[in-house]
């Protein structure tokens, strides 16, 4: 592939993956976690998300009531732990259903 082709592909891939971070975060945070730990685990799971995208996203999801958050002061450094709320679970289920039906639809096309 020429560099131009790669740029085009990278652009499309970015578009395709944009919404998946929300799904991954909601799924992952059924076990409570804090910002940096989630960034690491998502990275290991293959979701390359920028720190400056993920941290604000967590707060937005909290504001939307999809995550609950509480400060954990047991450790050396106080950390804000997020956990998927009941509403978050519902949204996650809906997103997953949609993901599967999209996958099925695309498989049918191929």
């Amino acid at each position: 592939m020429t560099p131009a082709d790669e740029t085009v592909l990278a652009g499309h891939l970015q578009e395709l993956r944009r919404g998946t971070v929300v799904v991954a975060a909601l799924a992952s945070l059924r076990t409570p976690g804090y910002g940096y730990a989630l960034l690491e685990s998502l990275g290991r799971a293959g979701f390359e998300v920028d720190a400056n995208t993920l941290y604000p996203l967590l707060r937005r999801l909290e504001k939307q009531g999809l995550l609950t958050a509480e400060w954990n002061t047991d450790e050396s450094r106080p950390r804000k732990f997020y956990r998927t709320s009941t509403a978050g679970e519902d949204v996650l289920a809906a997103l997953r259903t949609d993901w599967r039906s999209l996958d099925a639809a695309i498989t049918d096309l191929a």
């Binding site: 804090y34 910002g35 940096y36 730990a37 690491e40 920028d50 720190a51 400056n52 995208t53 941290y55 604000p56 996203l57 707060r59 937005r60 400060w71 450094r77 106080p78 950390r79 804000k80």
Partner: protein
């Protein structure tokens, strides 16, 4: 001593609402520390300061990060408003700027001491007025739309309907409101200029007001010109109410155009158009061939504009 982290966190939370600040401050500090520790643990960064700097570079511009937290837009005018903004700016600039330039030109030609300074400053002033007006229109429209972008994000103001589509070349027979208004404004300005140059002429010769046109024209010729202009105005309104030009209205318009042009050219060629005092003022100011130059320029101008107007009209009528 303030560290880079202190400054970074302060720059970020400053952009946020009061009730968010403490919480984001605390979390962001912890996160930066987590990221610094991780880098030191990997051994990829040299000193703690280097690691801190790298982490802040990764987090990027605090304004962008804060926008992520607050959901505020990172653009002045977003996609919801941009098309409206562009349409409005184009419309306003193409209408208001020429009006400002022509208005300034007319006023300056009368108020300037043309005999002494020539017409250069008047044209220069008109160009500056047109440009300044365009800048003002651009700035204020942009300001209003930037505020709208922040007060009602994601929504247009004027909206869009298919009625706003510009006429295709096929539809050029249709008479739009814009061209009607422009035609009427032009006629009124012309009529006012005719009256104004006589009753309160700002042109001065030895401190004395002199009209531009020969006052003898008021017994007959100027009233005739005013009547022809009025007739043209009526015709424009009739065409607008019928929503389209027809061959009879176009023909009548052409007759009126040619009549006005004929009167002007005949008066100019027989040297009865300008007030002798006005011409004398120009000649006295160093424009020795003023009488001839003005006559030629105006005859040429009238003929060219009239002819071009007719050609344009016929072209428009023949477009299917």
């Amino acid at each position: 001593m303030t560290t880079l982290t202190d400054r970074y966190v302060a720059a970020t939370v400053r952009e946020l609402a009061e009730d968010q600040r403490d919480d984001v401050d605390r979390e962001l500090r912890g996160t930066i520390e987590d990221m610094v520790e991780a880098r030191l643990g990997e051994g990829s960064a040299g000193s703690r300061e280097d690691a801190e700097r790298e982490v802040l570079v990764e987090l990027g511009d605090p304004i962008r990060l804060a926008a992520g937290y607050s959901g505020r837009p990172l653009h002045l005018i977003g996609p919801a408003l941009y098309p409206e903004w562009r349409r409005l700016v184009t419309l306003l600039v193409t209408i208001v700027s020429p009006i400002a330039a022509v208005g300034t030109l007319v006023v300056r030609l009368f108020t300037d001491d043309v005999a002494r300074d020539g017409v250069g400053p008047a044209f220069g002033g008109a160009a500056v007025a047109g440009l300044t007006t365009a800048l003002h229109v651009l700035f204020w429209t942009t300001l209003v739309y930037a505020i709208l972008e922040r007060t009602q994000p994601g929504r247009g103001v004027l909206g869009w309907t298919p009625d706003q589509l510009p006429e295709s070349p096929d539809g050029r027979r249709w008479v739009s409101r814009g061209e009607t208004v422009m035609a009427l404004v032009a006629l009124v300005v012309l009529a006012l200029a005719l009256v104004w140059q006589q009753v309160s002429s700002p042109v001065r010769l030895d401190g004395e007001a002199v009209p531009v046109l020969d006052p003898a024209l008021w017994s007959g010729w100027i009233p005739l010109l005013l009547a022809l202009l009025a007739a043209h105005a009526v015709l424009v309104v009739v065409a607008y109410r019928a929503r389209r030009w027809t061959w009879p209205t176009v023909a009548l318009g052409a007759v009126l155009d040619v009549a006005v042009a004929g009167v002007l050219v005949w008066l100019l060629q027989t040297e009865r158009f300008f007030d002798p005092g006005f011409v004398a003022a120009l000649v006295g100011g160093g424009w020795e061939t003023a009488a001839r130059d003005l006559r030629l320029a105006l005859v040429l101008g009238v003929v060219v504009v009239t002819a071009w107007d007719q050609v344009e009209t016929v072209r428009r009528m023949r477009a299917r």
